[in-house]
């Protein structure tokens, strides 16, 4: 009769019961998927970043950074940068090169909280968005970077090249061509509006 309440005869049932924490985790998984899906549908949230396909990174290098740096021979603007921002930008750039675009974006947002109108941070965010294929946001961040930036030199060229690639991908062919013109003009126009 002892067995009626003892453990031995009911051991088999115990095996069916996963550990306390395991269950918690397992139960959350479907919820995770459902929520991430919902978030994506709502268009306001994104899931953990997947490594960017190589071609997106190449596009940023070949169509934005390399030509901008070639253009800029002679015209360079080096804004003084807060060391905290520099640390975050370095972290973002490392994350980006490892393909962890989500992480890069989070670090850039942190940098933006410190210096919200820093053209370098905004442009880096634009380039990350370009790799995430969020062309609209890439365009918007690049525009803001240009608006608050020096409007000359390498960063200006990166701004307009990003805008060009983004417009291209958004199907705005003539806008893209115009942006390429503006990128070239970054090297020989004086800043306006000051």
């Amino acid at each position: 009769m002892k067995n009626l309440f003892g453990k031995s005869c009911l051991k088999t049932r115990l095996h069916l019961t996963p550990a306390y924490w395991g269950k918690l985790r397992a139960g959350l998984l479907p919820a995770v998927f459902a929520l991430v899906l919902l978030g994506l549908l709502a268009g306001c949230a994104s899931g953990p970043g997947l490594p960017a396909p190589v071609e997106e990174r190449e596009e940023v290098e070949t169509r934005v950074r390399t030509p901008a740096s070639q253009d800029s021979a002679g015209v360079q603007v080096f804004p003084l940068q807060n060391p905290a921002v520099r640390e975050l930008l370095t972290g973002a750039s490392t994350a980006e090169s490892q393909g962890d675009l989500g992480q890069a974006a989070v670090l850039l947002e942190r940098a933006m909280r410190i210096q919200p109108r820093d053209p370098e941070i905004l442009q880096s965010m634009a380039e990350v968005q370009l790799q995430m294929k969020d062309y609209e946001q890439a365009l918007n961040f690049a525009v803001r970077s240009y608006d608050s930036g020096p409007r000359v030199g390498e960063i200006c060229s990166r701004n307009w090249r990003t805008i060009g690639v983004a417009r291209d991908n958004l199907g705005d062919r003539s806008g893209s061509l115009e942006a390429q013109e503006r990128a070239r003009a970054c090297m020989n126009t004086k800043p306006a509006g000051f």
Partner: protein, 780 residues
């Protein structure tokens, strides 16, 4: 249970053993027989209890409140942080001020320098280790950061965020879940030694224990010892009932047996650790050792020392009777009884027990305020998350929610609203006036503070989110923005008629809006009309532009409420919430780069895995140059217009853009103002919408100033973006003029809207300028 090496035997060394085995054996057999008969006869009843207890056991595992975190404070050289701010932040984050910093979670202030031992924390962008560093502050800014050991400079140190709230299950409980392997070994073994020495071996009931207790109680003549096993106690906690009937006891006993049949000892003990009632905080029961450790010692359980562990074990017997805050002597006696039991069972050496018995209780004077103090903001967080989560999930999934709230700013905002309204009452306004405030970062759209009641700790109607009130004149800037976008027709100096205007409304009635001062101002410039908030001129301008266009503009700026396109819209006959108004003005404050306001940035699981991220999204407005020109006009509202009392309230700040709003019969008072880094909206009025004697400047602006006085402000940036520029113009004629000409003023113009005619003075100068240009060229 693997960690608990020492195991107490089921036998007591000292407890009297009054009867021989035969006696025990009889009782044992009889009890089992009875239980067997009961089970056989009353299978349905047992099945019912089985269902109840397993549902409860499984269900409880899920009842984890979501934790809501404030934004983490980033410390770096140059960060605007005053010593007061930093201390507030540390205090709200649960850091303890000590004389010697030795452990994470402690800090010390000495000579303008903070020494902080930051706690480890898992952020959405990864884990962060504990760090011991010092912060030097000077002039309201961080002047340096160094590691304490080695003295290396640090460029960026992020504090772990304050936990501002927990979103609770419906029951009024709070817990911090503890895993059995994280609990101090002494707690695991000690609990068994004190409460249930036979835990490892009994099937849920310990008949010997019951008998022993009965005997001890009989001898003492009162209930000194309980015979309940930990399993029984767990069941009792599940169905917290103070009923002490035999029926209840029988139910509990059966459920204890059933629990043991379903789950292993480790699972039961872990559930017990998280379930047992250990105190009461206001309306909230403190369940589990993890939460109790925070509640009594403000420390995580794994960091507790022997005397503290012993006290918690002692509280199991009666958390209110032995309440160490209310009955410290009683609690100490109980703790020392526990220590003696631990020594007796060999869990502590005599020396350890002696020194632990001599230690003070170590309980904090007051428990840290429960996380509900910022519930106005938390309501906003729930709102944002409810688009993705069910309320039920928020309350039970144990999510980690990362928000944008700045505790320091929130404290300042609450004080500004409460003190501001008290002050207005002293100056003769009604003491029943209510207020609301929303503070956001201009560029990122992150909500830093939100107040929905003059008594911010009162949970109730949240005016910042839910009070729909007429906005009055704070809508006017949008009328002028529309005008400025028409560069061929308007600039800030365009003349407009401020004579009385009468309109026939669709319902057949006439509408004749008058100016606030009941005067007509004749022909005025757009700038003057906005700066002084003239109604007649604004309606005339609006009619030229069309109410439809104004409604469209509201939509473009993020207003989702339906607004009827009637002429009364020009004067703000639109009902919006303070939060919606903040959204509109965020776009203006950010120079036309709209960002949907955010209160949540990321959501993680209990384990720290990312579930959701709310990235910052930017939507540039068209014609941003018009917004920059408008911002300039709004700085003139502050220097010489309806908000001209503001500079005296703030002191030296540099340009600030602002607009007052007052509605009919002085029912609502609004103020909205922004700088380069902050945008805030304040509202004051009566809940029942009766005339309140308030104006934008006499009420809401006072609250706004009360907050901004305490903030670190970056003045409005008046540099013009592409497509707009500054020109010298003649203040009277509006013609282009030279910097040194008489009545010359600088004014921003959008490309294409600038005046073309020149003053005689400029024409003369230009000849000379050209000459000097050539002269300079040749001289070089």
């Amino acid at each position: 249970m693997s960690k608990s090496k020492k195991r107490t035997s089921g036998r007591r060394a000292k407890a009297p053993r009054p009867a021989g085995r035969g006696w025990f054996g009889r009782v044992w057999r009889l009890a089992l027989l009875l239980a067997g008969v009961a089970l056989g006869l009353m299978l349905p009843w047992v099945l019912y209890l089985n269902h109840q207890v397993t549902t409860e056991f499984e269900g409880r595992k899920w009842d984890l409140p979501s934790r809501v975190y404030a934004r983490a404070l980033e410390l770096y050289p140059g960060a605007a942080v005053s010593p007061g701010d930093l201390e507030t932040e540390l205090e709200i984050s649960g850091y303890r001020k000590v004389d010697r910093v030795a452990l994470p979670g402690q800090y010390r202030v000495a000579g303008g320098r903070f020494e902080i031992y930051r706690r480890a924390f898992v952020f959405p962008d990864g884990g962060q280790d504990a760090k011991h560093f010092s912060v030097a502050l000077a002039g309201g800014k961080v002047s340096g950061l160094r590691e304490v050991e080695g003295g290396a400079e640090i460029s960026l140190a992020r504090l772990d965020p304050a936990e501002i709230a927990s979103i609770y299950p419906l029951a009024k409980e709070d817990r911090t879940l503890v895993r059995i392997q994280d609990a101090p070994p002494l707690l695991i073994t000690g609990l068994q030694a004190v409460e249930d020495r036979n835990f490892k071996h009994h099937p849920g009931l310990d008949l010997r224990g019951i008998a022993r207790a009965a005997l001890v109680n009989l001898k003492a003549g009162r209930a000194v010892q309980g015979g309940s096993t930990l399993t029984q106690q767990l069941v009792k906690n599940f169905f917290l009932s103070h009923e002490r009937t035999l029926w209840r006891k029988l139910n509990e006993a059966v459920m204890a047996l059933l629990l043991e049949a379903h789950y292993d000892k480790a699972e039961i003990l872990e559930a017990y650790l998280n379930e047992v009632f250990l105190g009461q905080q206001g309306a909230y029961a403190v369940h589990g050792f993890g939460r109790a450790s925070q509640f009594y010692f403000d420390q995580p359980l794994e960091r507790l020392q022997t005397p503290q562990v012993a006290l918690l074990i002692g509280l199991v017997r009666g958390a209110s009777y032995y309440n160490p805050r209310r009955h410290p002597e009683r609690a100490k006696r109980r703790r020392n009884e526990v220590l003696a039991a631990l020594e007796e069972t060999g869990l502590l050496s005599a020396a350890q027990a002696r020194s632990a018995s001599a230690a003070p209780l170590g309980v904090t004077a007051r428990p840290r305020a429960r996380g509900s103090r910022y519930h106005a903001f938390v309501q906003l967080v729930r709102g944002q998350l409810s688009q993705v989560y069910r309320e039920e999930d928020l309350k039970t999934e144990g999510l980690r929610i990362f928000t944008t709230l700045s505790p320091v700013d929130q404290e300042k905002a609450q004080a500004a609203v409460s003190a501001g309204l008290d002050d207005l009452a002293q100056r003769g306004l009604s003491p029943s006036l209510q207020g609301a405030l929303v503070l956001a970062d201009s560029s990122t759209g992150e909500i830093l503070a939100l107040v929905g009641d003059r008594y911010p700790n009162r949970a109730g109607f949240n005016r910042a989110l839910h009070a729909r009130r007429q906005v009055g004149s704070i809508i006017k800037p949008l009328v002028y923005l529309l005008a400025l976008e028409h560069t061929t027709d308007y600039n800030l100096l365009t003349r407009i008629d401020d004579s009385p205007v009468s309109l026939r409304l669709p319902n057949g009635s006439d509408w004749t809006p008058a100016n606030y001062d009941l005067k007509d101002h004749g022909e005025v410039s757009l700038l003057e009309a906005l700066v002084h908030s003239y109604n007649q001129a604004t309606v005339r301008l609006g009619l030229q532009l069309g109410a439809n266009n104004l409604v469209n503009k509201l939509v473009q700026l993020g207003v989702t409420t339906d607004v009827a396109a009637l002429p009364s819209v020009f004067l703000g006959a639109v009902e919006l919430t303070p939060l919606e108004v903040t959204q509109i003005y965020q776009s203006l404050a950010a120079g036309g780069f709209s960002v949907p306001l955010r209160s949540v940035t990321a959501v993680q699981t209990t384990q720290g895995d990312e579930l959701l991220r709310y990235p910052m999204r930017m939507l540039p407005q068209a014609r941003r140059e018009a917004i920059s020109v408008l911002t300039y006009a709004l700085t003139r509202v502050v220097t010489e217009g309806t908000a001209r009392a503001l500079p005296a309230l703030l002191g030296e700040t540099g340009p600030i853009a602002g607009k007052t709003g007052t509605t009919n019969d002085r029912r609502d008072s609004w103020f909205v103002g922004y700088t380069a880094n902050r945008v805030a909206v304040t509202w004051v009025g009566e809940d029942d919408n009766r005339p309140a004697g308030v104006t934008g400047a006499n009420a809401a602006m006072q609250l706004w100033a009360g907050l901004f006085r305490k903030l670190s402000i970056e003045p409005v940036d008046l540099r013009m973006p592409d497509g707009a520029f500054w020109l010298w113009v003649d203040a009277h004629s509006g013609k282009l003029t030279g910097e040194h000409c008489e009545a010359a003023v600088q004014m921003p113009f959008i490309d294409g809207s600038e005046p073309t005619e020149m003053t005689a003075c400029l024409a003369e100068n230009q000849d000379q300028n050209e000459k000097s240009f050539w002269k300079k060229l040749f001289e070089n």
